[in-house]
Symmetry: C2
Subunit: 350 residues, 2 copies
């Protein structure tokens, strides 16, 4: 049943209007925002029911849930915006268990004064990303805080997905002898955001790699369901942090080859100018896969046939190491430890 | 497997320390915050796996998902804090489908400078609320924004639950002839928050009614599974908004009796001083139930035996009305329309 609309006096002014506190008050203004913006663009039967929760049927099995707050600054950046990022980030976190993401929930925290035109752009982009990933946004929430108590818009997305039978992927399953695969070049997202920020112009055409990885994961899982031990998307803290997390969780060491790690020349150049190590720069459309060595070439071939895995590479192997160190064979033939990042290189990168 | 801890140089300073941007950077400082605060207090096997998602088994059936951002100001108030509220709010939204809430996910957006001691208090209170409601927090996320770009802490919680067979509860199922039940006195939460805010002292001992309603709902559903048509918790916008939403969704009218609506004398007095209509003041531990008239007395008896439904009352009935008006028979024998709220009475009440 499609409930009747509340008779609003006039439509939302999406050209000149701004978010005000009444949009979070639970009354007529909030109902109008939900009707004319969120339901209009996210359009699906579950959302249209207007309950405070959404109901969906599942078969018996294993579900995963993941949640991610998005506070990126600026809201709009080369290659995306906070809306598309909020979909990709959560779809990817769900997919990194090997699951097929099913549905998303979205919680918006809006700052008083946010132009409704900006919010509409973000909602449209979010709706397109959700549609493209096949993960409808079926429930949500809107809060408004006073000017100066937020920063435009924060979006917390939560996703649920279903894990196919026979798939057993977790960060604690890396074993000595496993191969380490990376789906493509690192650092694009972080460098694109820096370029988007005020006073930092590289004259580069770099765009964020922000993308939903669920179809790539589905292809990999279909090709070698029992051979994939770990998947992780190297977001905040970059590849270095993702590998250290996996080494720590699994109680193993890793050795990677600098020469095998794909990275674009312009990212390398931008990182040199900024004094950043690309190993620590965030990605939003890449994954690390740790798999049985015998399946590595097969998985690499599957990844190479997917648009998001074209430049995939085998970048190293898991080793026994009670220190749980990640070591890198450098291009010059030496070895160095790739440690956890200590400070904060790039705040609000996602 | 319980992964080994990262060897931190020193423990978090929970007495004098403050949140800084590195706590959201994905590196060592964030891992330490997660270890020594979130995992320590939320402690459960799923969270301890430290994956970016949590996996759980479900039988075939109907699940619900609900998400809610919490931006309440002040963070600590009489009867609770943002941590307990963030659990209760989402548990209740899940329960309002008749579902048994199973698990929670929590996304934190922290402002740089937040005292770690405050964060610890909130996390401890959140953990206690989750344990008491039987809904472990199994996955989460932490972001940090610069000073002046947030307001201490915002918490977005998402819950999943499972709907028992034979239960079919939705806001669009109210029918003429149904009875309207309310689980207890209205307005406590909103008035307690106002009292907690600076420069507003009523000299009252009122505390928020913030509470998890899932055990009350379970008792009601067990007693009359097929007779409950709608459940809703009258939070933002109060009882008036909840009833208008249900009338709108179901395409019906409602008539309620002012004399039957439970309200504490001190809440009534505080609302008079503040110029608030208690019908529009937020509650965080109350529910509205719309049920078959024949089951109303039975449900009322079940509610009355539960600590959170002791003062439950039948407050009115659903009628046919193509305007979808909510009307109130006043204590003086007249009738007035209880409209949607238009502006924002009490910003950041939840």
């Amino acid at each position: 049943m499609n409930p009747k609309r509340i008779p609003f006096l006039s439509r939302l002014d999406l050209t000149h209007g701004k978010v005000d506190l009444s949009h979070g008050g639970g009354g007529r203004a909030m109902a109008q925002l939900i009707d004319e913006l969120f339901i209009k663009h996210f359009d699906n039967d579950l959302l249209r029911q207007r309950n405070d929760q959404a109901l969906f049927a599942v078969p018996a099995g294993r579900l995963v849930i993941s949640t991610d707050g998005h506070v990126i600054s600026p809201l709009f950046f080369p290659g995306g915006d906070i809306g598309s990022l909020a979909v990709h980030g959560t779809v990817n976190d769900v997919a990194m268990s090997g699951a097929k993401p099913l549905y998303l929930a979205a919680g918006f925290i809006l700052e008083e004064g946010l132009p409704l035109a900006d919010l509409e752009k973000i909602v449209i982009s979010m709706a397109a990303a959700a549609q493209s990933a096949g993960t409808p946004i079926i429930t949500g929430d809107t809060k408004v805080v006073e000017r100066g108590k937020g920063d435009g818009v924060f979006i917390t997305t939560t996703g649920v997905g279903i894990v196919p039978k026979g798939v057993n992927i977790s960060g604690n399953r890396a074993q000595p002898g496993c191969a380490i695969l990376l789906s493509g070049p690192i650092g694009d997202h972080g460098v694109a955001i820096m370029a988007g920020r005020e006073n930092l112009q590289f004259g580069t055409t770099l765009v964020s790699d922000s993308a939903a990885l669920n179809s790539l994961v589905a292809a990999m899982v279909a090709a070698a369901p029992a051979d994939i031990h770990c998947l992780r998307d190297p977001t905040r803290g970059g590849l270095a942090t993702a590998l250290n997390e996996l080494a720590q969780q699994s109680g193993v060491g890793m050795v990677i080859d600098e020469a095998q790690i794909p990275i674009k020349d312009e990212v390398k150049a931008a990182c040199e100018i900024l004094g950043l190590d690309p190993l620590y720069v965030a990605n939003e459309g890449k994954l690390v896969c740790i798999c049985n060595a015998v399946a590595a070439e097969r998985l690499l071939a599957v990844m190479g046939q997917h648009p998001l895995g074209r430049d995939a590479a085998i970048i190293g192997e898991v080793v026994a190491d009670h220190h749980h160190f990640v070591e890198m064979r450098t291009a010059f033939g030496g070895r160095r430890i790739v440690d956890w990042p200590v400070g904060e290189q790039l705040p609000r990168i996602c």
